[in-house]
């Protein structure tokens, strides 16, 4: 399973009295949940931001992994989502300064929330973002206005903040193919990885079935 379509989903809903759930989503009970308040203009890392369901360590690629990040989505509509690789932010303003990213109006999650469907950015990042071995990456959300804590019956799916990221994880032998594709200037996509492997295999089959010159094929084996 060397090329895998992966996804990660972050939420700010937690059991009462709890702010963070490490490495998995929390188990929720009716009438015993709340959402974590999010402050205006304060960015939160969805992997290691210590709010909601997060991870122990930042997302760093191993030496034999590539990632092709092709979609992010977020809600509420007033939350913006930004991607970073090492210290570089992906989305910029026209003047070259780092922006807060794209909003939940452009990329709503779940698709269709509050009647908004993703028609504006349905193909995701184009071209997609490649993350190379040993690079650290992450996703940040920034609310443009304060999002209050919801409790009791106000904790509904339309009040929970979400962030979703979808990517292609390429590891093992396919990471070598990915490197060869990047070196050759090809786009890193599922189709191109398959095409490249097809070409390699075809060449090997041809090489195995072709006749060797007699000087080689009839040469005595030296021991």
């Amino acid at each position: 399973m060397a090329v895998r379509r992966q996804a990660y989903e972050w939420r700010n809903v937690m059991p009462i009295g709890q702010k963070v759930s490490l490495n998995n989503h929390p188990v929720l009970k009716p009438n015993q949940v709340h959402t974590i308040a999010l402050s205006k203009d304060i960015p939160i890392d969805i992997f290691v931001g210590n709010i909601g369901n997060t991870l122990d360590i930042p997302a760093e690629l191993k030496a034999f992994q590539y990632i092709v990040l092709d979609a992010v989505a977020v809600s509420h509509p007033t939350i913006h989502v930004q991607i970073y690789v090492n210290t570089t932010r992906y989305f910029e303003n026209p003047d070259g300064t780092v922006s807060k990213g794209i909003s939940g109006n452009i990329v709503p999650f779940p698709n269709g929330r509050n009647g908004i469907l993703n028609y504006d950015y349905k193909n995701g990042l184009n071209p997609p973002l490649y993350i190379a071995p040993m690079q650290t990456w992450g996703v940040e959300i920034t609310p443009l206005e304060d999002i209050p804590e919801y409790t009791g019956n106000d904790v509904t799916d339309s009040n929970i903040a979400f962030c979703f990221v979808k990517y292609l994880l390429i590891d093992g032998v396919d990471a070598l193919v990915a490197k060869a594709l990047i070196d050759a200037g090809w786009e890193l996509s599922v189709e191109n990885i398959q095409k490249y492997k097809e070409i390699i295999l075809k060449n090997h089959i041809l090489a195995a079935t072709s006749e060797l010159p007699p000087t080689i094929s009839r040469r005595k084996r030296r021991v």
Binding site: R5, A7, H25, P30, V33, F109, N111, L201, I205, R221
Partner: protein
């Protein structure tokens, strides 16, 4: 029926619930094939030696907030499962989190079932998952809303028969017989296994050899040539046995 587009649907509805033991524990992973809950079959899915499977899509019921339940008296009539699904091939989980650890998988918010006009999928399983002969595959669900705890706490005493508590949908293509052989051949050639590519290979084979009445003679000649070459090779390498020197 050599290539079949198969759909499998698993669910737990109110009809399945008689006691607390009929409800899954929250946070725990269960197989949709071999679980004791809901409409499961009784065996894990083993791909037999003559089959080849391509999993194209998995989805599950949407809904996160446990507070969006509804009651009719003490009967539960609406419930959000907050569920995730994971695909496991033999002992390997398909989904990992960004720190490379086994994760609960994909949620019903990203890949909802059923899809509606207002709720469409964000997640496409592409490239699809190939399950090879002799491999076992499984789809496992985890509920993160504690319906069992809610029942134990007395939130409800009964579940409406028409309420679907959790559901999973799997869309896969089953290749069997000669089509499974063609699928494996395509895989070994590095060509993606799709219905079109398998049919294309079949057409190619038929065009090249299948309608030729001298097929047997062709293969006989080819096998003899290969045997002769190998015999010669063994002699050159000094590993020939007495039978290699027989005419």
């Amino acid at each position: 029926m050599a290539i079949r587009g198969e759909l499998y649907e698993w669910d737990i509805t109110g009809i399945d619930i008689n006691t607390i033991n009929d409800l899954p524990t929250a946070g725990q992973e269960y197989s949709i094939f071999s679980t004791e809950f809901g409409s499961a079959i009784e065996q894990t899915a083993l791909v037999s030696e003559g089959d080849f499977i391509v999993i194209n899509r998995i989805s599950c019921k949407e809904g996160v907030s446990p507070n969006e339940y509804e009651l009719d008296g003490t009967t539960l009539t609406k419930w959000n499962p907050n569920m995730f699904i994971q695909v496991v091939i033999n002992t390997t989980g398909y989904y990992r989190d960004p720190q490379n650890l086994y994760s609960a998988g994909i949620s019903g918010m990203a890949s909802p079932y059923p899809q509606t006009v207002y709720r469409t999928k964000y997640y496409d399983l592409f490239p699809p998952i190939y399950v090879l002969p002799e491999q076992t595959w499984d789809v496992r669900f985890t509920l993160f809303n504690d319906i069992r705890g809610a029942y134990a706490d007395g939130l409800f005493t009964d579940v409406a028969n028409n309420l679907t508590i959790a559901s999973v949908f799997v869309d896969y293509t089953l290749y069997d017989g000669t089509d499974a052989m063609l699928a494996r051949k395509l895989l070994s050639l590095g060509v993606p296994v799709t219905v079109d590519s398998v049919q294309w290979l079949r057409q190619l084979i038929l065009k090249n050899r299948g309608l030729d009445t001298e097929t047997f003679d062709f293969y006989l000649k080819a096998v003899r040539e290969i045997a002769k070459k190998r015999k010669e090779q063994r002699k050159l390498q000094g590993v020939a046995t007495i039978s290699d020197y027989e005419p």
